[in-house]
């Protein structure tokens, strides 16, 4: 799985920072290193993710975290097996890309070249939610993170 992502601050438009109060998410890994914006699932709400939708980089809610009033699956991830088995069909899911430069799993940050696949669905109020797609982890990913599911990276195999 992957419980957090990081995107370079330079990839996000200035308006997004004001609209979504992203400045509190800015982090660096050392003196002189580029600034990043972190999005964590277990972090403080709101739980969000950057999404490439219709050619625009936007910010949507990440899955459904414990909102009982919402009918959407109560998780942040979508197994590709269940998507392919048609279990998400009632939500009319749409494939999107979650742009990212690093992913986080069990305190390991790993390099992401472009981003990962996600599915976009809408709740009863027609608000967009994005779920990160997962697949069985490769041997490499499993050793590195000790997790048996991994994101589907765009144009990259690890």
């Amino acid at each position: 799985m992957c419980k957090g992502i990081s995107i370079l601050k330079a990839r996000l438009k200035q308006e997004l920072f004001e609209q979504y109060e992203l400045s509190q998410r800015i982090v660096t890994r050392g003196a002189g290193a580029q600034e990043e914006v972190h999005f964590m699932y277990p972090g403080a709400p709101p739980i969000e993710l950057p999404v490439l939708h219709d050619g625009q980089l936007v910010i949507y809610e990440w899955g459904n975290r414990n909102n009982k009033a919402c009918k959407l699956p109560n998780t942040g991830w979508c197994r590709i097996e269940s998507l392919e088995a048609g279990k998400w069909r009632w939500l009319s899911p749409e494939k999107v890309v979650i742009p990212a430069d690093f992913g986080l799993e069990k305190s390991v940050w790993f390099q992401i070249n472009e981003g990962m696949e996600g599915v976009l669905v809408h709740d009863e109020q027609l608000r967009p939610h994005v779920y990160m797609m997962t697949q069985p982890a490769s041997h490499y990913y499993q050793t590195m993170t000790r997790h048996d599911r991994m994101p589907i990276l765009v144009g990259q195999e690890i």
């Binding site: 890994r29 050392g30 290193a33 580029q34 390099q111 490499y140 990913y141 590195m144 690890i158």
Partner: protein, 395 residues
Amino acid sequence: MIGHVDADCFYVSAERVRFPHLRSMPVGVLGNHGACIIAKSYEMKAAGVSTGMPIWDATPICPQAVYVKRDFRWYEALSRRMLALVQEVSPRVEFYSIDEQFFAALEPTDGFARQLQNNLLTRVGVPVSIGIAPTKTLAKLISDSSKPFGYGVVADDRQRRALLHNRPVTDITGIAKRSAMHLAAHGIETCDQFARADRAFIRWLLTKRGEDLWWELNGTPVIPVQAVRPKHKFVSRGGSIGRASCDPARVQAFVVRNVERLVEALMHYKVCCDQLTLSLSFTDRPERSLRSSLLGSRADFEALLEAALHLLPQVWQPSSAAVHYMHVIAGCLRPLAHRQMSLFEQPQLHDVKHRINNAVGRFALRSGSTLPLVDVYGDAANEYDICDIYGKSCF
């Protein structure tokens, strides 16, 4: 004078060439299995992470680090660019290792070293350290001690003595732990003590290799810059087979894989062999190896595989032992051009395989006996083994 160029944390620097945002952050390059750190940035080193450390030991001491999977194909491409650039400024260059070159330095000055360093940084993107001295050993000692991104020239005796002063003998390439222990037993612990010791005594203690280093440290070149790789006595392919295995199908599949790699290497060096050796290491037993003579000089997959599979059950004794490492070694090498073709060879089949793999990718067409290794071939990173990068004079 001889120059030595050595890239600083090469694998990490290579990743930073294509992913510039990795600059100034702690970066670790992981081996194929995702377990061990095979290279690290200076930021990661500063946090206390060492090369070879498993990732689960490194994350607690450097939680902000980011990890990248190794990509030897990319590292080799950059290595060739480095080599080509050094060849522009020197008539004689030795491709010593993937990120190091020795070269004949026509202009042994700080200005020249600085300019070469800048050229490599701006045109290849890789930071290097450079040493220039009368001998290879001194030049390498300078670049090693100037890291990161330093350079230095030893042009006279005063500079040479300053370089050796109080430097541990283990800093010298070629003085391993064992030699250092022998030397320490006789009160020799630093480079300057080594250089001032009696030459005959060093030869007695460390044989001719030690004496060569003595001359070199004292400024007399005895180890030449080898622009052409020396002719091989053996060509070997193999290594770890991953998790140790008692499974005959899996071990045999690795034999097939390594014979395919060996044939590739023989083709590259344009040699064939009269002998083939198979060597196996087991988890809890001594290593065993056996040699087989071939019918004439061969470099074709079928003949070498037949010999290797003939040796396998004889070397694998007892058959209950778990195989951990394996090598297939071609010996008694001859130039391919001088060889008599056997009546049973099928050059067409080999040519077709070679052409397809060149066009589509390594191992795209390979023996069906490698099928038990779907995990190995399914992982693109396994297509590349570091020793399959040709032309280096040192591994």
